[in-house]
C-alpha cells in the first residue's frame, strides 16, 4: 500500500471531478498516498473564483444524466471540492497544478483554490508517482 495512487485530472466537468474525488478519498481512507496532477480544464475548475460554480457534465450525461446528478446533489451529496477537502483531512493527498496548463490558462498560483498545494512540471509528477497506478480522468 506504500505506492501512491496517481490521478491525472484533465476534464473539468463536475461528474468527472466527482468521480476523481471519490477515488482519491477512498485511497486516502486506506492510508494510500494520492498525487493529483491538474491539467487543462480540470485546472481551470480549481480556480479560486470558479471552484464552486456549475462546471457542467460530460456530453454523455445528456438531460437524463443531468437529472440524476441533480437528484443526488439535492439528496445531500457533498460536492467534489468538499469531498477532496475532507479526504485531505484524512490522509495524504497532494494536489499539484501542471505548469504548462498554468501557462495555457494564463494564471498564477494565487488564482488557485487553497486545495491546490503547488505547481510542478510533468517530470516532478512522474518522479513522485513512483510505481503506483496512474489514472487519467
Amino acid at each position: 500500500m506504500d505506492e501512491p495512487l496517481n490521478l491525472v485530472l484533465f476534464s473539468g466537468t463536475d461528474d468527472k471531478l466527482q468521480a476523481a474525488a471519490v477515488l482519491a478519498a477512498g485511497a486516502a481512507a486506506l492510508g494510500k498516498p494520492v498525487n493529483v496532477f491538474l491539467q487543462y480544464w480540470a485546472l481551470d475548475a480549481f480556480r479560486r473564483d470558479r471552484i464552486d460554480r456549475d462546471h457542467g457534465l460530460a456530453p454523455e450525461a445528456g438531460p437524463e444524466g443531468r437529472t440524476h446528478v441533480d437528484d443526488l446533489r439535492k439528496a445531500g451529496q457533498a460536492s467534489w471540492s468538499e469531498t477532496l477537502r475532507q479526504a485531505k483531512d484524512l490522509g495524504s493527498i497532494d494536489i499539484q497544478a501542471c505548469s504548462l496548463s498554468m501557462d495555457l490558462l494564463g494564471i498564477s498560483e494565487s488564482d488557485l483554490d487553497p486545495l491546490v498545494d503547488g505547481v510542478e512540471g510533468v517530470t516532478a509528477f512522474y518522479l513522485n508517482a513512483g510505481e503506483g497506478h496512474m489514472v487519467f480522468i
Binding site: 471519490v22 478519498a25 477512498g26 481512507a29 486506506l30 492510508g31 443526488l72 439528496a75 445531500g76 451529496q77 457533498a78 469531498t83 475532507q86 479526504a87 483531512d89 484524512l90
Partner: protein, 84 residues
C-alpha cells in the same frame, strides 16, 4: 444477528451518516476513530448501499474489530471497536 445484542459491548458513540454518500460514511467513521480512544465502540449508521461492504473491509485492514453489521429499516448500522 441481533440475538447476541446482550453480549455486545456498550456503544460509546453513534455517528449518524444517513443521507451521506460514498465514501462519506467511511470518512466520518475514520474521523471518529481518530478522535476516540482504544476500546471505544463506535456505531456508524449509513443509508449508502456500499457501506456494509466497504466499512467492514476497512475495519479489517485498519486493524480494528468489527462487532456487528445490522440491517435496519432503510439503513445499516456497523459497529466497530477501536483496537489500536
Amino acid at each position: 444477528m441481533t440475538a447476541e445484542t446482550e453480549t455486545r459491548p456498550t456503544i460509546t458513540r453513534t455517528i449518524d451518516a444517513r443521507g451521506s454518500f460514498c465514501p462519506g460514511p467511511l470518512m466520518e467513521l475514520i474521523r471518529a476513530i481518530r478522535e476516540g480512544a482504544v476500546g471505544d465502540v463506535i456505531a456508524v449508521r449509513s443509508s449508502d448501499s456500499g457501506s456494509k461492504i466497504d466499512i467492514p473491509k476497512w475495519i479489517e485492514k485498519a486493524g480494528h474489530r468489527l462487532i456487528a453489521v445490522d440491517n435496519r429499516d432503510g439503513f445499516d448500522e456497523i459497529i466497530v471497536e477501536k483496537a489500536r
